[in-house]
Amino acid sequence: MSQVHARLMGVSRVYPAAAGQAAVHALGPLDLDLRRGEFFGVVGPSGCGKSTLLDVVAGLAAPSEGRVTFEQRDVAGEVPDGIGVVFQEDASFGWLTVWDNVAFGLRRAGREAAEVQRRVDEALRFMGLVDFARAYPAQLSGGMRQRVCIARTLVMEPRLILLDEPFGALDAQTRLLMGDELLRLWRASGATVMLITHALDEAAMLSDRVGVMSARPGRFIDIIDTGWARERDSRIAAEPSFGALTARLWSLLRDESLKALGHQRP
C-alpha cells in the first residue's frame, strides 16, 4: 500500500475575473504529499488560500493547473468516495435531530436500517452526544453543533478527513478540549487528517507535520515535523518544545502575515 494518500502536483487555482474585478491568483503552484494516517496541519496568513487548498484536495473546486490524486486516482472537481469534510461554519441541519443529522449520509447512501442504527449510536457515543440524540441543533452550543458535524463526517468512515478551521468560532478552552477529541478520533479511525487553522498553537499541538503557507498566492514556505508521539493530548502545550515549535511557526509566518496586511518588513 502506497504511503502517499493524497498528492498535489503543481497545483494552482486562479479565480477568473468577474463583475469588474481582476482575476485572483489564490493558490500555488504547490506540491504536497499527504502521508497515509498522518495528521497534517496547515497554517498561513489570512486570505493566503488555505480554504482554497482544502477545496481543491476535497474535489469541491478543480485546480486551474496541476493534478490532485487521492489513493492514486485523479480528483477531478468531484468529491471522491472516502473523503469527509468538516467546515468552519455550522453545517448541521436545523430541521433534523442530532441522531437524524448523523444518520443523514448513511441513509442517503442506502445503508440497512440496522447498520445505520449501530454506526450512528457508535458515532454519538464516541463524540459524547448520546444524551443529546433527540435534541435539535438549535438547543446545542456552537461546540456541540460542531461535534454533530464531526460525528456526521465520522460515521461515513472517511479515509481522509479535511477540517477547515472547525473550531474557529469556539472559545480557547473549548478549542483545546475539541482538539483532544480530534486526536482521539484520528487515532481510533486511522484516517489521514488535514486541518486548516489560523491558530498556531492548535496546529503545533495536533499535527505530525505543519505546512506553513506564504501570503497569496499561497505556497508552502516550509513543512515542519513536530516529532510528537501518536499518543498525545493538549497537555503537550506545557512542554518547553511546544513553545519553541510555536515560536518557530510564528517566525516563519510573521513576514508573510505582514505582507498579507500590505505592510513592508520593518
Binding site: A58, G94, Q139
Partner: protein
C-alpha cells in the same frame, strides 16, 4: 401554552364586550348585537341557501389559493435560484404589492368576464406576491455551506434540492404561504363584493344595500372565525418550523 390560551380568551372576551358596547351606542339598525348575531349564525347554518353561497366562495378561494400558492412557489423558487431574474423581478413585485388591486378589477372583469374566473384571478393576484417574495428570499438566504455539505455527501442535484435545500427553506416559504392565504381570501371576497351574483362577498354587499346589519355581522363573524382558525394553524406550523428545538 396555558398562558397563550388565556390571553386569547381575554382578547376574545374584550372584543365581544366592545361589540356589545358599540351595539348599545349605535342601536340594532347600525350594528347587530353579539347575541342576535349568534342566533342568526345558528339559523344561517341550517339554511341551504347560505351553504350555496359558502360553496361558491369556497370554490373560488380554493382555486385562487392553488394559483397563488402553487404559482408563487414556482416563481419564487425560480427567482431565488436565478439571481439575475430575481433581481429584475423583485422591485416590480414590491411595487405591485403596494398597488391597490381594486384599481385593476375593471380590467380583470373585461379579461375574465363576470363569474368564477374573475374572482379566482383577483384572489390569486392578491396572494401570489408575498408567496413569491418569501420563497425567493428563502432560497437566497440558504447558507452555501449546506450545498457544500451535500456535495461532500455525494448527493445528486435532485436529492440535494429535496432533502437539504427545501427543508432549509421551508420555514420562510410557510411564512409567505400564511400571508398569501389571508390576502387570497381578501381578494376573493372583494371580487365577490364588486361583481358577483353568489358568494359570501355578494351576501355582504347585498346586506349593505338592505341595511341588514344582522347578515353583515353573521357573515363577518363566520369569516373571521374561519380566517382566525386557519391562520392559527398556519402560524403554529410556521413557529414550529422556525423554532425547531428552541
Amino acid at each position: 401554552m396555558k398562558r397563550r390560551a388565556l390571553d386569547m380568551l381575554l382578547v376574545s372576551v374584550a372584543l365581544v364586550v366592545l361589540w356589545q358596547a358599540l351595539h348599545w351606542r349605535v342601536g340594532e339598525e347600525g350594528l347587530a348585537s353579539p347575541a342576535a348575531t349568534l342566533r342568526q349564525i345558528g339559523e344561517e347554518l341550517e339554511s341551504p341557501r347560505f351553504w350555496r353561497h359558502v360553496a361558491e366562495t369556497a370554490i373560488a378561494f380554493g382555486w385562487a389559493l392553488l394559483y397563488s400558492a402553487g404559482g408563487g412557489l414556482v416563481l419564487g423558487l425560480w427567482f431565488g435560484f436565478r439571481r439575475l431574474a430575481g433581481e429584475v423581478a423583485e422591485p416590480v413585485l414590491t411595487a405591485f404589492a403596494s398597488l391597490p388591486k381594486v384599481t385593476l378589477y375593471p380590467i380583470m372583469l373585461l379579461v375574465f368576464g363576470l363569474g368564477l374566473p374573475a374572482k379566482v384571478a383577483f384572489g390569486a393576484i392578491h396572494g401570489i406576491v408575498p408567496v413569491v417574495l418569501f420563497s425567493m428570499a428563502a432560497v437566497r438566504n440558504l447558507a452555501p455551506v449546506l450545498t457544500r455539505t451535500a456535495r461532500v455527501l455525494r448527493l445528486d442535484a435532485r436529492t440535494t434540492a429535496l432533502t437539504v435545500l427545501l427543508p432549509a427553506a421551508l420555514p420562510e416559504i410557510v411564512s409567505g404561504l400564511r400571508i398569501g392565504f389571508s390576502l387570497t381570501l381578501l381578494g376573493v371576497l372583494i371580487g365577490e363584493m364588486f361583481a358577483a351574483k353568489r358568494g359570501l362577498g355578494f351576501l355582504i354587499m347585498n346586506a349593505i344595500g338592505l341595511n341588514d346589519s344582522g347578515t353583515i355581522m353573521t357573515v363577518a363573524t363566520l369569516l373571521f372565525a374561519f380566517a382566525a382558525l386557519a391562520n392559527a394553524a398556519l402560524l403554529a406550523l410556521d413557529r414550529h418550523l422556525h423554532h425547531r428545538g428552541d
